[in-house]
């Protein structure tokens, strides 16, 4: 406890670094996953192809992946972010495809039949309706990425991994414990926040459920 009080500024800095690292990675991963998922949706060949590649990447141990990237892009944040983006890809792409799959076929049929153009259907019907399932995927990706980002400390990316790494090097159990607890707390809060967001993304279902419960 005294350790935390004595080093609260340092811990805070590392927490922020960690959050930033993960948020940027998830942001980039989402920007890549959405068009990729849209491109794959409903095409089994494409889904097979992309899942094979991202699935293979997912099996590479994180330390190994980061180390492979270091000779190419150097040490620090860049290889870590690249690694995290690649890890998140598998989950996010699946989440986009799953989300689009969850859009009822009759809704899409009615939309096309009424003469709504493809782009408008995608942006105003498919994507909003896919959002809840997609966010469920983001949740899993976020928790995973927050955990794996810890390894980034090994290649100088900063974040809470630094605390754990230093603790091990200096044989300071407290340091390791605080680091580990902080990562866990971060993962739990991200999970909680995204659950909330997921629920807010489907107001139509909530109100129907509320009406059903009160009836």
């Amino acid at each position: 406890m005294t350790f935390l009080l004595d080093n609260r500024l340092e811990v805070l800095r590392l927490v922020l670094e960690h959050v930033l690292l993960c948020a940027v990675s998830l942001g980039i991963a989402t920007i890549l996953a959405v068009p990729l998922g849209v491109w794959m949706h409903g095409r089994s060949r494409r889904i097979g192809m992309v899942t094979a590649v991202t699935g293979a990447l997912y099996t590479v141990p994180s330390l190994a992946l980061f180390s492979i990237l270091v000779p190419v892009v150097g040490l620090g944040v860049v290889p870590t972010v690249i690694g995290l983006v690649l890890y998140a890809q598998l989950m996010l792409v699946r989440a986009v495809v799953g989300g689009l799959d969850s859009v009822p076929e009759d809704v899409r049929d009615a939309a096309i039949g009424m003469g709504i153009d493809r782009w408008t259907i995608l942006t105003t019907i498919d994507l909003p309706l896919a959002l809840p399932v997609f966010l469920a995927g983001v949740r899993i990706a976020a928790v995973t990425v927050i955990g794996i980002a810890t390894i980034g400390a090994v290649i100088d990316a900063g974040g809470l991994g630094e605390l754990i790494l230093q603790g091990i090097q200096r044989d300071q159990v407290e340091r390791v414990t605080v680091g580990a607890l902080a990562v866990t707390a971060l993962a739990l809060s991200a999970d909680y926040a995204l659950v909330r967001l997921e629920r807010r993304a489907r107001p139509w279902a909530n109100r129907a459920a509320a009406a059903g419960a009160s009836a």
């Binding site: 939309a111 003469g115 709504i116």
Partner: protein, 383 residues
């Protein structure tokens, strides 16, 4: 919106799906007049949905042409075409994340109407389909019953006032009691809006109730018969249609006509022939001239099927027909019902559109059909 809008013509339309060896719709040629409901019936897989979806080009024909008001649908931009055709499907396909009002306003919004006009129109349509806009307008589709959702689907299809509507088993998911009610409401609404409608169903009763014409498709997407409901039952074009309409065709036919369609025996003629009907102070029929009580009274707007049921239930072979006030206006007999079934009916619409109109009833009664039936007071028709 004149009556000339919305004529749909199928001209040798064939659809062979990629990879299929046989056509799903085979050289379909038919014409649906403006303001008419054409029911498309047939067994599962006979190509009803395929035929319907070719009209708004959700499916492109392999060959042949579909014209709306004489214009080849292929020459119209596909989205413009679809926005001018109301589209209703069994699962409704309401947008779950949009309010009921927003759902109804979909096509007007696509057409670039201003928001206040869209709002006014959406409310008007909810009213039209019997949903209070202030109660249901802001709900999400998940907060509606199946029947209410279907009404919203119909309102949404009508929003931009399209001349043509396509409906694929629109009432199929609704339980039978509510279904009949919604069908009736829909027909009442159609009296005002006069759309040209293709309605797909595999429920023959629904086809008979809703259709001005019925197109029966048989396996392989071949049009077996295009006829009025009455013609279909009276003169099935082939064995397939015969089997499809089933063994109780006679009863179904009787259900299609009302007692006032019959050349009822006028009261004075009945009186002269010895079966005059006596009325009480309230002008209600109570007994026959020979003193036997009147056991059955048949409403003038009842179906012939109901009339037959009444006659059989009471063991009578004739009964007074009464108006809305319960006053007798004529006599109906089982012979008249039989004569109705026996009269010549053409097999299709084109051959003889007005089949049955010049029929005057069984000859053996030897009277001219009355222009109107006069009610008779006790003793008033003596002499």
């Amino acid at each position: 919106m004149g009556d000339s809008r919305g004529v749909i013509e199928f001209d040798g339309v064939t659809k062979v799906y990629p990879g299929a060896t046989a056509p799903s719709v085979d050289r379909l040629t038919m014409r649906i007049e403006a303001g008419e409901i054409c029911a498309l019936v047939g067994p599962s897989g006979s190509g009803k949905t395929t035929a319907m979806r070719m009209v708004n080009r959700l499916i492109e024909p392999t060959s042949g042409t579909i014209r709306i008001d004489g214009v080849d649908t292929r020459s119209i931009d596909v989205e413009t075409l679809r926005r001018s055709i109301g589209y209703v499907i069994q699962q409704v396909g309401l947008f779950p994340h949009r309010s009921v009002l927003d759902n109804v306003g979909t096509v007007p919004r696509l057409l670039g109407w201003d928001e206040s006009r869209i709002a006014a129109r959406s409310r008007e349509l909810l009213d039209l389909v019997g949903l209070d806009p202030s109660k249901f307008g802001m709900r999400y589709p998940a907060q509606l019953s199946g029947g209410q959702r279907q009404r919203v689907g119909v309102a949404r299809a009508l929003a931009a006032d399209p001349p043509v509507m396509l409906m694929d088993e629109p009432f199929g998911a609704i339980d039978p009691l509510v279904r009949e009610q919604i069908q009736d409401e829909f027909l009442r609404m159609q009296q005002d809006v006069r759309k040209t409608i293709i309605i797909v169903t595999h429920d023959l009763d629904e086809a008979m109730r809703m259709g001005d014409k019925v197109a029966v498709l048989q396996e392989g997407g071949v049009l077996a018969q295009l006829a009025t409901p009455e013609q279909l039952l009276a003169a099935p074009a082939n064995d397939f249609v015969q089997r499809f309409v089933g063994g109780d065709a006679a009863l179904r036919r009787l259900a299609l006509a009302k007692v006032h369609d019959l050349p009822l025996i006028p009261l004075d003629v009945a009186h002269a022939q010895g079966f005059g009907v006596m009325v009480d102070q309230q002008a209600q029929p109570v007994q026959w001239a020979n003193g036997t009580p009147v056991r059955a009274r048949i409403a003038i707007d009842a179906t012939l099927r109901t009339a037959l049921g009444e006659l059989i239930a009471t063991g009578e072979s004739f009964a007074p027909v009464i108006d809305g006030m319960g006053r007798p206006v004529g006599i109906v007999t089982t012979a008249l019902l039989h004569g109705w079934l026996d009269r010549p009916v053409a097999q299709s619409i084109d051959q003889h559109a007005a089949a049955g109109v010049d029929w005057h009833g069984p000859a053996q009664h030897g009277y001219a059909p009355p222009m109107q039936a006069q009610p008779m007071r006790f003793g008033s028709s003596r002499g």
